[in-house]
C-alpha cells in the first residue's frame, strides 16, 4: 500500500503532497516532508532508487528538477511503484502538454485530481492514460 506521495524540487520545497494513511503525520507534516526531501535530494546518481526511512520504503524518481517520492510499505514491489510514477508523469505530461514545475505550481488541484484517478487510497486504480484523463477533460468541458 502506498502511504504518501510527494513532489519536491531540488531546494526541498514541497510542490505536491498527498497522504493515504489516515493522517498520521499531519501534525508534523512540514518537518516530515523536509526530512524525506533532504534524504532524497542528497542521493548520488549511481545509488539505488529505493531506501528505507523508518517503517516506510521510499521509492523516488527524478524528472528534470523534480523528485517524485513515494512512500510505501515493505510488501510493495518497488519496480511496480517506479512504473506507476512513470505512468503518472506521462498522464500529466499529456494533459499539461509538456509539464513543467510551474504547471504544478499553478494547477495544483488538477494534479490532485489526476492523482486521484490513478491511485485511490494507496492502491493502484487505473493506469491507462485515456481513462485517467477522461474525467479531467470532463471537468473542463462541463
Amino acid at each position: 500500500m502506498i502511504h504518501f506521495v510527494l513532489i519536491v524540487n531540488r531546494r526541498c520545497q514541497t510542490r505536491f503532497s498527498r497522504y493515504y494513511n489516515d493522517n498520521e503525520i499531519t501534525k508534523q507534516k512540514s518537518g516530515f516532508e523536509l526530512e524525506i526531501a533532504r534524504k532524497t535530494v542528497i542521493r548520488k546518481p549511481g545509488q539505488c532508487l529505493f531506501f528505507k526511512h523508518g517503517k516506510y520504503t521510499i521509492v523516488y524518481r527524478i524528472y528534470a528538477s523534480l523528485y517524485f517520492v513515494v512512500g510505501c510499505d515493505e510488501q510493495e514491489n518497488e519496480f511496480g511503484i517506479l512504473e506507476s510514477i512513470q505512468a503518472w508523469v506521462e498522464a500529466m505530461d499529456c494533459y499539461f502538454e509538456k509539464v513543467t514545475e510551474l504547471d504544478l505550481v499553478f494547477n495544483l488541484e488538477k494534479v490532485h485530481m489526476i492523482m486521484d484517478e490513478i491511485v485511490l487510497k494507496g492502491s493502484l486504480a487505473e493506469t491507462n492514460q485515456e481513462r485517467v484523463l477522461a474525467p479531467i477533460y470532463a471537468l473542463t468541458d462541463a
Binding site: T14, F16, S17, Y20, D22, N23, T26, K29, S30, G46, Q47, C48, L49, F50, F51, N77, E78, F79, G80, L82, E83, S84, A87, V105, F106, L108, E109, H112, M113, D116, L120, K121, S123, L124, A125, E126, T127, N128, R131, A134, P135, A138, L139, A142
Partner: protein, 880 residues
C-alpha cells in the same frame, strides 16, 4: 519607462489578489519566509471575510486559494464548511473542487465528516458517472467507520453496476471499507468473485487488489478464493502470450501492473497449498522465461515472480530457476536491481543455500560496490553463506573487506567472523591465525565476548602456545594502537612469557626477531607509557607483569617489574593502585607467590553465543547461567578459609570470571562425582606434567598445611612442559574431594581390611620401605566396575625410627588412568601400627598400572622431614 514600470508594480501590489494565479504569483515573488507569511496571513484574513459573506460565485476561488495555502503548510481548517457547501453545488467543477477540499482538509477526527455522509449519499446515486466516481473516490479516501457502515450497501450495489468506471472505483471504495470495518468483508465476497471475470483491466486490477486485501485480513477467505486460481492463471497466460495491445502496453509488456497484482494474489492463495502451487508451476515458469529483463518493467514482473516462487510450494526446478534469475539480477549494472536481488537472497538463503552458493563470487564483488546499502546486504548474505567447504575462502575475502570497511560494519563483522571461525574452523591453527588477523585489523571494534573466546581458544590449544605468543608479541611490537589486540596479547604474554623468552628466535613476516626477558618487559612498559592506554589496559598489564615475575628469572627483569609496579602504587585510579599495592605485597611472600601465579586452568569450551540473536541479552544470560553454579561452591571454599577468586572486585571480566568459573567448575564436577559415582571425568586427572618449580609443590603443601594435614594428590614434578592446571586449584579440588567426610568411612569401608596388625599383609605389594616405614599396596578389582581398581595402602611403622608423623603420601598414575585418593586414617603412624588409605584407579584402557610415589614424613628420632620419591609398578598379572 522605468518609472512607469515602478508605478504599475506598485499599483498591482496594492490591488487585491483576485485570482488564485495572482496569489500564487505574489507568494512566489516573496524573497523571505517572513514576507511569505505576511502575504499568506493577509490573504487568510480576506478569505475569512469572504466565507462570512456567503458569496456562492466566489466560493470556487476561495476554496482554491485555501487549498493552496494549506499545501504551503499554513492552517486552513476554517474553510472546511466552505468545501462542504461547494460539494453540494450542482456544478461539476464546483463539486470536484469541493470534494478535493474535503479530501485534503477534513480527516476522520473532525465532526464535520458526518455532514459529508449525506452529501455523499446523494452523489452516489447521481446519474453522471463521473460524479459517482468522485463520491466513491472521496469515500475511499476519508471515510470513517460510521460512514463506512452507512454507505456500505450503496457501494455494494455499485460494485454490480454496468459501468466499468464505476465498478473500478467501487472496488477500491470497498477496499477502504473493509480496512476500516473488517466485519463487513462478507458482503463483498460474492461481488468480488464476479469482478475476476471482468474484461476491463482496470476492474481486474482493482478486483484483484480487493481480493488480496480480503485474503490478507481474513485467512479463511483464502479457501474460498482458491477456486479462482485457474481463472487467474488463464488471465496471466493471456497477458503474457497476447500480442501487442496498444491499450495496455507499457514499453513492450502488456499491462505489467495487472501481471504483478495477479502474481501477488497467486502468492497468497497458493501459500501452504500444494494443489494450487502445482497449478501455477507452468505459468510461473513461462512468465519467468518469457519476460525480458532489459527494462525496468520486465524486472518488476520477474521480481514478483521470484517472490511468488519462493513462497509457495513450488517444485525444485522452479526454485533453481528463481535463484538463477536473482543471480542474473546481481550481475546487472543497475543498482536498484542488485539491491532488490540481494534483499531477496537474504530472505531465501535459508531455503536454497546450494543454489545461492553458485553466485558467491558475484556477491563478494558486491562487497566493494559504491552504494552502502548494497554493501551492507552483500555482507549479511556472505555471512549466511559460510559453511565448512568455503570457510577459508570466504573468511579470507571477509577479512580483506574488513580492512576497508566502514567502522559501523567493523563491530558486527568481527563478531560474525569469530562466530563463523568458531563453528567451521578446519583446525586450531587456522582458527588462531584468523582471529589474530582480525584483531590486527579491527582490534578496536572487537567485542568482549569475542576477546574472551579468543583467550579461551589460545588456552585450549596448548600445542600452539609458542606460536601464538610469538605472533602476538611480534604484532604488538609493530602496533599498540588496537585495544583488543593489546588486551589479548598482554594476557597471553603474561601467561606464557616463559615460553616466549625461551623459544629463541622466530620469524614473523620475514623479520627474524628474538624475544628476551628485557624486551618483553620493555614492551609492556612501552604500552603503559603509550598514548593508547586506558584503565582496562593498565589492569591487564599489571597482572601480566606480576605473572611474569614468577616466570622470568633475570634479576634485572625482576627489579624492573618491581619498579613499574611500585610506580603505580600511587596511581590515581583506585583499581590500579589496589592491584599495584597487592602485587607489590606479593613479593614479600616469595614462597607462595609462584603458586599463586601458576598458569590459569584451561577454560572449558563454550560457544560465544548460543543462538542467532546476538543482542546483549545472550552473553549476559550465559554468564548469569554460570552464576548459580558458584554459589554453593563459594560456600565450600569459604568453609576451607580460601577466598573465592583472586582479584576480587575487578571489572576485568576475563581474568576474574573465568577464574571463578574455572575454579568452580571443577569444584562442581567434583561434588557431583562424589555424590553420583566416585569416578567421573573430573578435572583432576593425573598427568605427569609439572609444576614450574619444586617450590610450587612446597608452596602447595604449605597451603595444605594451612588447612590441616589432609593427604592430597599431586602431580609430581617432571618435565618442563607447562601444566594446564594450577596446582593451587588441584589442591582445592582434592580438598573438595575429601571434604564430605561421610564418604570416607564408606570408601575406607569398601575394601578395608579390619586388622591393623603388624605383620605385613599377605597379599600386599611392597612399594617402599625405609626408615621403618613400609608402604604396601593391596589391590583389588572393584565389584561394580571392572575398570576400577581399589588399592588399599598400608603404612606400617616397625618402630625403628620412632613415631612417624606428618605423613604425606602422594601418587601419580600414567596419563590413561585416573587416580582418586581418600583420606588416610591417620597421618601419624605410631610404632608397630599400621595406617591405611584407600586409592582408586580408573583404568578404562586396561593399561599397566604403574605408580610414582612421593612420600614425606617426619621421624621422631631425628626430628627431620624426609622426602622421598619411589616408583612402583606395574602390578604383576593376576594381582587383581
Amino acid at each position: 519607462m522605468n518609472s512607469l514600470n515602478d508605478i504599475s508594480q506598485q499599483i498591482l501590489a496594492r490591488l487585491p489578489l483576485f485570482r488564485l494565479k495572482d496569489l500564487i504569483k505574489a507568494v512566489r515573488a516573496c524573497k523571505t519566509a517572513a514576507e511569505e507569511r505576511a502575504v499568506v496571513q493577509k490573504e487568510s484574513a480576506k478569505l475569512r471575510t469572504a466565507i462570512k459573506e456567503e458569496n456562492s460565485d466566489a466560493r470556487h476561488t476561495t476554496v482554491a486559494k485555501l487549498l493552496y495555502i494549506y499545501m504551503l503548510g499554513y492552517p486552513a481548517h476554517f474553510g472546511q464548511m466552505e468545501c462542504l457547501k461547494l460539494a453540494a453545488s450542482p456544478k461539476f467543477v464546483d463539486k470536484r473542487l469541493g470534494y478535493l477540499g474535503i479530501m485534503l482538509l477534513i480527516d476522520e477526527k473532525t465532526e464535520v465528516l458526518t455532514l459529508v455522509t449525506n452529501s455523499l449519499k446523494n452523489d452516489l446515486n447521481h446519474h453522471n458517472m463521473y460524479i459517482v466516481g468522485l463520491a466513491l473516490c472521496t469515500l475511499g479516501n476519508i471515510s470513517s467507520s460510521e460512514m463506512a457502515r452507512d454507505l456500505c450497501s450503496e457501494v455494494e450495489k455499485l460494485l454490480g453496476s454496468s459501468n466499468t468506471y464505476i465498478r473500478k472505483k467501487a472496488a477500491l471504495a470497498a477496499l477502504r471499507i473493509i480496512r476500516r470495518v473488517p466485519e463487513l468483508h462478507e458482503n463483498f465476497i460474492s461481488k468480488s468473485k464476479a469482478l475476476l471475470n471482468d474484461r476491463s483491466h482496470g476492474v481486474l486490477v482493482t478486483g484483484v487488489t480487493l481480493i488480496t486485501e480480503m485474503c490478507q485480513q481474513h485467512p479463511e477467505n483464502v479457501q474460498l478464493f482458491r477456486k479462482a486460481v485457474p481463472l487467474l492463471v488463464r488471465h496471466l497466460k493471456n497477458l503474457v502470450s497476447a500480442g501487442f495491445s496498444p491499450e495496455h502496453d507499457v514499453t513492450g509488456v502488456t499491462d505489467p501492473f495487472l501481471q504483478v497484482k495477479i502474481l501477488r494474489l497467486m502468492r497468497i492463495l497458493a501459500k501452504n497449498d500444494q494443489e494450487a502451487s502445482d497449478a501455477m508451476n507452468d505459468i510461473l515458469a513461462q512468465v519467468a522465461t518469457n519476460t525480458e529483463s532489459t527494462k525496468n518493467v520486465g524486472n518488476s514482473i520477474l521480481y514478483e515472480t521470484v517472490l511468488t516462487i519462493m513462497e509457495i510450494q513450488s517444485e525444485a526446478g522452479l526454485r533453481v530457476l528463481a535463484v538463477n534469475i536473482l543471480g542474473k539480477f546481481l550481475s546487472n549494472r543497475d543498482n536498484n536491481i542488485r539491491y532488490v536481488a540481494l534483499e531477496t537472497l537474504n530472505k531465501t538463503v535459508g531455503m536454497e543455500t546450494q543454489a545461492v552458493q553458485r553466485h558467491r563470487n558475484i556477491i563478494l564483488d558486491c562487497l566493494r560496490d559504491g552504494d552502502i546499502s548494497i554493501r551492507r546486504r552483500a555482507l549479511e548474505l556472505s555471512f549466511a553463506l559460510i559453511n565448512e567447504g568455503n570457510v577459508r575462502v570466504l573468511t579470507r575475502e571477509l577479512l580483506a573487506f574488513l580492512e576497508v570497511a566502514d567502522s559501523e560494519f567493523k563491530q558486527s563483522m568481527t563478531y560474525k567472523i569469530s562466530l563463523a571461525a568458531e563453528r567451521f574452523a578446519p583446525n586450531k591453527r587456522w582458527h588462531i591465525d584468523t582471529m589474530l588477523r582480525m584483531l590486527k585489523l579491527a582490534g578496536n571494534f572487537v567485542r568482549e565476548e569475542v576477546l574472551a573466546g579468543f583467550i579461551r581458544l589460545v588456552a585450549q590449544s596448548s600445542e600452539l602456545h609458542q606460536y601464538t605468543v610469538q605472533k602476538l608479541y611480534a604484532s604488538l611490537k609493530r602496533d599498540i594502537s588496537q585495544e583488543g589486540l593489546v588486551l589479548a596479547s598482554v594476557w597471553v604474554i603474561g601467561e606464557y612469557g616463559d615460553v616466549l623468552t625461551t623459544s629463541g628466535s622466530f620469524e614473523d613476516e620475514n623479520v627474524t626477531m628474538e624475544a628476551n626477558e628485557t624486551s618483553v618487559v620493555g614492551l609492556l612498559e612501552s604500552i603503559l607509557m603509550g598514548p593508547y592506554v586506558n584503565q582496562l589496559t593498565r589492569e591487564y598489564v599489571m597482572t601480566a607483569l606480576i605473572k611474569l615475575s614468577s616466570r622470568l628469572n633475570e634479576a634485572s627483569v625482576q627489579a624492573k617489574i618491581k619498579d613499574i609496579l611500585q610506580r603505580h602504587t600511587t596511581s590515581m585510579e583506585v583499581e590500579i593502585q589496589q592491584r599495584a599495592v597487592e602485587y607489590m605485597n606479593m613479593f614479600s611472600f616469595d614462597d607462595i607467590r609462584p603458586a599463586v601465579l601458576e598458569r590459569m586452568p584451561v577454560p572449558e569450551t563454550r560457544t560465544i553465543i548460543q543462538t542467532n540473536n546476538n543482542g546483549p541479552d545472550s552473553p549476559a544470560l550465559e554468564r548469569s547461567s554460570n552464576r548459580p553454579g558458584p554459589s554453593d561452591q563459594d560456600l565450600l571454599l569459604d568453609l576451607m578459609g580460601v577466598g573465592t577468586a583472586s582479584g576480587g572486585g575487578s571489572n576485568d571480566v576475563m581474568e576474574a570470571s573465568p577464574q571463578v568459573q574455572k575454579a568452580t567448575i571443577p569444584q562442581k564436577s567434583q561434588n557431583s562425582d562424589l555424590l553420583a559415582d566416585l569416578f567421573g571425568t573430573s578435572g583432576s586427572s593425573e598427568q605427569s606434567t609439572s609444576s614450574p618449580a619444586p617450590a610450587a609443590a612446597s608452596g602447595g603443601s604449605a597451603l595444605l598445611d594451612l588447612l590441616g594435614d589432609i593427604a592430597g594428590e599431586k602431580s609430581t614434578p617432571a618435565a618442563s612442559t607447562p601444566p594446564p592446571y594450577a596446582t593451587g586449584l588441584d589442591t582445592l579440588a582434592s580438598l573438595g574431594q575429601s571434604l564430605p567426610n561421610s564418604r570416607s568411612p564408606e570408601l575406607s569401608g569398601a575394601g578395608l581390611q579390619a586388622n591393623n596388625s603388624l605383620p605385613p599383609v599377605s597379599n600386599g605389594h611392597q612399594a617402599y620401605s625405609k626408615n621403618g616405614l613400609t608402604i604396601s599396596f593391596v589391590p583389588s578389582r572393584d565389584r561394580n566396575n571392572g575398570s576400577i581398581i581399589n588399592i588399599q595402602v598400608h603404612f606400617q611403622n616397625n618402630g625403628s625410627q620412632g613415631t612417624i608423623s606428618g605423613l604425606q603420601f602422594q601418587a601419580a598414575v600414567p596419563k590413561s588412568q585416573k587416580l582418586q585418593m581418600a583420606a588416610a586414617s591417620n597421618s601419624t603412624v605410631d610404632p608397630n601400627s599400621t595406617e591405611k588409605q584407600l586409592m582408586r584407579i580408573h583404568n578404562p584402557q586396561q593399561t599397566a598400572v604403574k605408580l610414582r610415589l612421593r612420600i614425606s614424613y617426619i621421624l621422631s628420632s631425628t626430628g627431620q622431614r624426609v622426602d622421598d620419591l619411589a616408583e612402583f609398578g606395574p602390578f604383576p598379572e593376576g594381582a587383581f
